[in-house]
Symmetry: C2
Subunit: 353 residues, 2 copies
Amino acid sequence: MAPSPSKPKAAGATDKPLLAVLKGERRDPPPMWLMRQAGRYLPEYRQLREHKGSFLDLVYDSDAAAEVTLQPLGRFDFDAAILFSDILIVPFAIGQNLSFVAGEGPRLTPQLLSADLDSLTPTLTRLEPVYETVRKVRQRLAPNKTLIGFAGAPWTVATYMVAGQGSRDQSETRRLAYADSDRFAAIIARIEDVTFAYLSGQIEAGAEIIQLFDSWAGSLAPAQFERWVIEPTARLVERLRGEHPGIPIIGFPKGAGSKLRAYADETGVDCVGLDETVDPLWAHREFAADFPVQGNLDPLALIAGGEQMQDSVRRIVDAFRDRPHIFNLGHGILPDTPIDNVERLVALLKGSA
Amino acid sequence: MAPSPSKPKAAGATDKPLLAVLKGERRDPPPMWLMRQAGRYLPEYRQLREHKGSFLDLVYDSDAAAEVTLQPLGRFDFDAAILFSDILIVPFAIGQNLSFVAGEGPRLTPQLLSADLDSLTPTLTRLEPVYETVRKVRQRLAPNKTLIGFAGAPWTVATYMVAGQGSRDQSETRRLAYADSDRFAAIIARIEDVTFAYLSGQIEAGAEIIQLFDSWAGSLAPAQFERWVIEPTARLVERLRGEHPGIPIIGFPKGAGSKLRAYADETGVDCVGLDETVDPLWAHREFAADFPVQGNLDPLALIAGGEQMQDSVRRIVDAFRDRPHIFNLGHGILPDTPIDNVERLVALLKGSA
């Protein structure tokens, strides 16, 4: 099970492959986890959901959220747990009302397209149950596993706060960012502040890595990408580093495509997550030789299984053989993913397939 | 109005700046047109639509479709007209029923997720009214303007044929392509054949340039992108070149991001259209020095107008100053775009602003 390190480690030190890779070590096989690994594809998750109320109730029940966080590690030899929470906890703490409408996704009110930011009353205590979840997970986590905390990146969080919900192409928010960039900059600044507090709380409670999810980074034109994705992320990374020296940060600007290298160079993240549309051979040429990357199996290839999955996995592992690499999906695992295929993926990677 | 050519042209020859750029000439200012330039942002288009029935009725009325094709050139000093038609004419000719539901977009029945391709009866006569439109436009077009014909690329057309409608992330089609690649390959092959016939008909009727719209190219993982975007496009380009030597072909793989260079190199298109998320400075470094590119103003920057538009235009024009470049949007002009901003854009580009 334990991967063979490419460098000797200090005798007695507990090996955490994910942390090693984020410091620039190569590992063969690469450590792995899967985005949304604590989720609906797991029967034990679906069962627990039936007994709890809403999604938000589950996030706010620290015992249950810790249980859900750990569920995938009970089944699979993943190298990390990722906190079970939601990126919209930050807008909730900023003062919007948050609800999850079954089959329709999240709703935030009042939406900031019309409401003023200053009409919201920040309630940072809404973040605290999440820290409690982090503490509980950390107490139960095996010593060779790593706990990943996370938040949405400011741009992506802003798209939900402005529209009040998910949107097809983030059009309302992109329009606001052009039409009233001062007002939009104030929204971004507020998100940065609360996200900094939120991530600091997670780190103090025991999160060992932070991932910033910028799920809608792909919809922005380059000048807007610089202003609303790169700059806020760079400021957040700098503040986190100042307060928590050495905390590893993974940035995941989904859809950033040709702007990935600029993102890596200018934000200062330790590792970039690649979505499944990125050609690993291209990425390997694009990034500096020792820069860690994470990704990027197509979640649909994991559903397909068989040779299609094997070929995709081989392509990724081969491309990144000579660089620090964390194996992952290119985005979240889908609810109808067969458990058997996840088992085969782990076996394939860990060399027992 | 006439741009000053960077090379002397033969005395008496009519200068068509778009064709010159596609042969590898630089032009200053770059020639321009706008995707979806014949459309709802124009009051004269909206007026004509009120008097015609459905969108499809308008496409099939060659006199009206020719009128709509020419409308933007009556107002703006664009360098090209683009045929007014729809990419779903090809599925209609393949034998699906086509309707446009107001407010919901197109519907194709039966959808091929369940129905068999062989249950459809090809009706290539459904393509012929479009050729008539091309002939009528060509008769009325000024000698320095160019007529662009177009079709959807096979992958994008397949996503509509499989799902029977537009879809958020082309998930049904991507799943089918993994789950039953033989069946999906047969759908792609049928689309290739009919698209070849359709584009040949347009060229014979007078289209001087062909653009292939691959609007959903961005959703595919790299191996799938090679098989379903690059390979079908390369085959189509080869067949068109064989039958119509010298016909310039612009490929527009929207969202292809980091895979744009592979697309350009492997499909054999003469020019690649860039969507608005591509950084022009990156693109300029990425492509061979004399390779023509088209694009890529953010349609929302055109709506914003003012300095935001000027800065975006300058960034694009400056980046591509030393290469053959056709100025365009990064995708279609939006219905609420102010006419005044389009006028300012033309003035800005043509040097009278």
